[in-house]
């Protein structure tokens, strides 16, 4: 029988849980949270990474865009099973026409006004960070999501244990001793948590909710033994799409999609439509789903108009779901933040950076707390954590900056260019791991933070030299996406620079 543990303090046990969970999940959590922060601006990053798409004065009329996209997709042979027509809007400069035939799929990006194919550099754009954020990379998607989901569950437990073990909640809210050392890291950790605590809980829990069909399918399996039944009943409450059915086999011309979209806009307003899905486009059984824009709504529960593709008649209006489904829809929408106007989007971004700072300060605090004792008293693995912190934290900034630079530097006609940019990201991160293991910790911090600082601060220079659209041209022409991305890079670069200088001073003191 195991010896009885001393009955000392819930807080001591919570501290143990918090420390261990933090150490195990810290680096992965940091990567997930930081790429999540960047994902709030993924459309803007995508625009920055495809500068050839020239700015349009105003987005083209929806019906016009839809007709162009339908015309392009009608030329795909053999006929696809499904089309998805994504409209350009205030944040997306280009319209994207996607076709799907089973496991096979493709897309064309078009200038919304003319329908002409945009000749763009091959790049993942901001979508690389977005997908990494919830399914990582190099792994099968489901496995990646399992890992991120487990990490998110750990984060939820970390948040709860952190609150339970915190004693002086209100006093610590206003305490930030900046002189350096363990005390400062603790204060920074507490303040990053306290300032945005509701956000941290919300973003972690809603993130889990987005993975819930994969994570907790047991209720649905118990309630609906047949998979098709399950799909239909649940997806009707959560997905804005009609299941694809087998085509009838009779070819038929598709009705004008422009008219359907106009009907939707009459109902929902001018920017009310986000995309159109066409099932079995060349067939008599064609169905058209016109989906409402998430930018107008605080819930992602399905709202769409379903039309008969051949006749053009309105078959169904989907606008209501049950209250629990609505709650799920609201949590989903709160995580995605698609409804956010620019100010709120910036608040989302800054709060996410605070969440990233929470993880960063926690990991560094663990090392700092144990650095003042004799070498014998330090836990095993202290040196490893100290070194890997540099690569896991500062190294990610280097990798992200390298990714952005590669978009400007790689030759435009390079085959698989998009994949190469991703390789650059991982190569830079890998190099930072090697560098961190080889160099003494204090120097490694200074060098990696300094490298990230240099790459970020010089990004506008790269833009100026290698591209037609950049910060300076943007200020002159009102090209605000380019101004925003590059000036934010500079600001974050300066932050890294300050950190590099402080790391230098701290190491000088520790000698």
């Amino acid at each position: 029988m195991p010896p009885r543990e001393p009955a000392a303090g819930l807080r001591r046990r919570m501290a143990g849980l918090h420390t261990w969970a933090g150490l195990l999940l810290g680096w992965l959590s940091y990567a997930v949270v930081l790429t999540g922060a960047l994902s709030f601006f993924r459309e803007e990053l995508s625009v920055w990474m495809r500068p050839e798409a020239s700015r349009t004065a105003a987005p083209a009329e929806t019906a016009v865009q839809v007709r162009h996209m339908a015309a392009v997709l009608a030329g795909i042979e053999p006929p696809p099973h499904q089309w998805i027509l994504e409209l350009a809007d205030g944040r997306r400069e280009l319209a994207t026409a996607i076709w799907i035939r089973g496991a096979d799929h493709g897309e064309r990006r078009l200038r919304p006004g003319t329908g002409a194919a945009a000749a763009l550099r091959d790049t993942r754009g901001g979508d690389f960070f977005y997908r990494f954020h919830y399914q990582l990379h190099h792994l099968p998607h489901r496995l990646g999501r399992w890992i991120v989901g487990a990490c998110a569950m750990g984060l939820l437990v970390l948040l709860i244990s952190g609150v339970v073990l915190h004693r002086r909640f209100f006093a610590d809210f206003f305490t930030l001793r900046l002189r350096g050392g363990q005390r400062s890291w603790l204060d920074a950790h507490n303040v990053s948590a306290a300032v945005a605590l509701p956000f941290h809980f919300l973003i972690v829990y809603s993130g889990l909710v987005m993975l819930m069909f994969q994570y907790l399918p047991w209720g649905s399996i118990a309630a609906y033994p047949l998979p098709q039944e399950r799909r239909a009943a649940l997806l009707a409450q959560t997905d804005a799409s009609v299941p694809l059915t087998a085509p009838r086999g009779t070819p038929a011309a598709l009705q004008d999609l422009g008219g359907m979209v106009r009907l939707a806009e009459a109902r929902w307003g001018r920017d009310g439509v986000s995309h159109v899905i066409v099932n079995n486009p060349a067939d008599a059984s064609a169905l058209v789903t016109v989906v409402r824009s998430p930018r107008q709504r605080l819930s992602s529960s399905p709202q769409y108009l379903l039309f008969d593709g051949v006749g053009g008649s309105l078959l169904r209006v989907q606008e209501e779901v049950g209250p629990v489904a609505q709650a799920r829809g609201i949590l989903y929408a709160l995580h995605m933040g698609r409804f956010a106007d620019p100010l709120l989007r910036w608040l989302y971004f800054l709060s996410s950076l605070l969440c990233a700072a929470l993880v960063w300060t926690g990991l560094v605090l663990w090392v700092a707390k144990r650095s003042d004792v004799t070498a014998a008293a330090r836990p095993a693995g202290w040196h490893a954590v100290r070194k890997l912190n540099v690569a896991g934290l500062a190294g990610l900034s280097v990798a992200i900056a390298a990714f952005l630079w590669s978009n400007r530097l790689l030759p435009l006609q390079l085959p698989q260019r998009g994949e190469w940019e991703v390789q650059v990201f991982f190569a830079a991160w890998g190099l930072s791991v090697v560098h961190a293991l080889l160099r003494p910790a204090a120097q490694a911090w200074r060098e990696q933070l300094g490298c990230a600082a240099a790459l970020l601060v010089l990004l506008p220079a790269a833009g100026f030299a290698l591209c037609e659209r950049h910060l300076f041209a943007g200020l002159r022409d009102g090209d605000w996406v380019f101004v925003g991305v590059e000036s934010t890079a500079v600001a974050l670069g300066l932050l890294h620079g300050v950190a590099a200088l402080r790391a230098g001073r701290a190491s000088a003191r520790q000698r």
Binding site: P2, P3, R4, E5, P6, A7, A8, L10, R12, R13, M14, A15, G16, L17, T19, W20, M153, L156, V157, I160, S161, V164, Y205, L208, V209, M212, F213, Y215, L216, W218, G219, S220, A222, A223, Y224, A233, L234, A236, Q237, T238, G322, P323, V324, A325, A327, R328, L331
Partner: protein, 89 residues
């Protein structure tokens, strides 16, 4: 945590990770007993499952001993299982 034996810590981790997930799964099925349309009940089960797992993990480490931790998990599992079976569709 240094004072707890390794076996006790391992038991708590098992309670938190495996026991917690089992409780989440049971809760998601137990929610079918709620007086809601089936699809709604299924979704409610998923939404509550994560909360149950997190609280189970906190209990697994907050309880005064590893034995109490497991006892609590098993008790909760039994009641959820009973609800799941009784209210099943």
């Amino acid at each position: 945590m240094a004072a707890d034996s390794q076996a006790a810590v391992a038991a708590r981790i098992g309670a938190a990770v495996l026991g917690g997930y089992a409780l989440a799964a049971l809760a998601s099925v137990a929610c079918l007993a709620l007086p809601l349309p089936t699809a709604e009940a299924v979704l409610a089960g998923m939404l509550t499952g994560f909360v149950v797992h997190a609280l189970a993990a906190i209990w697994a480490f907050g309880a005064r001993s590893a034995a109490r931790a497991w006892a609590g998990i098993l008790l909760a599992a039994a009641s959820l299982a009973l609800t799941a079976v009784a209210g099943g569709r």
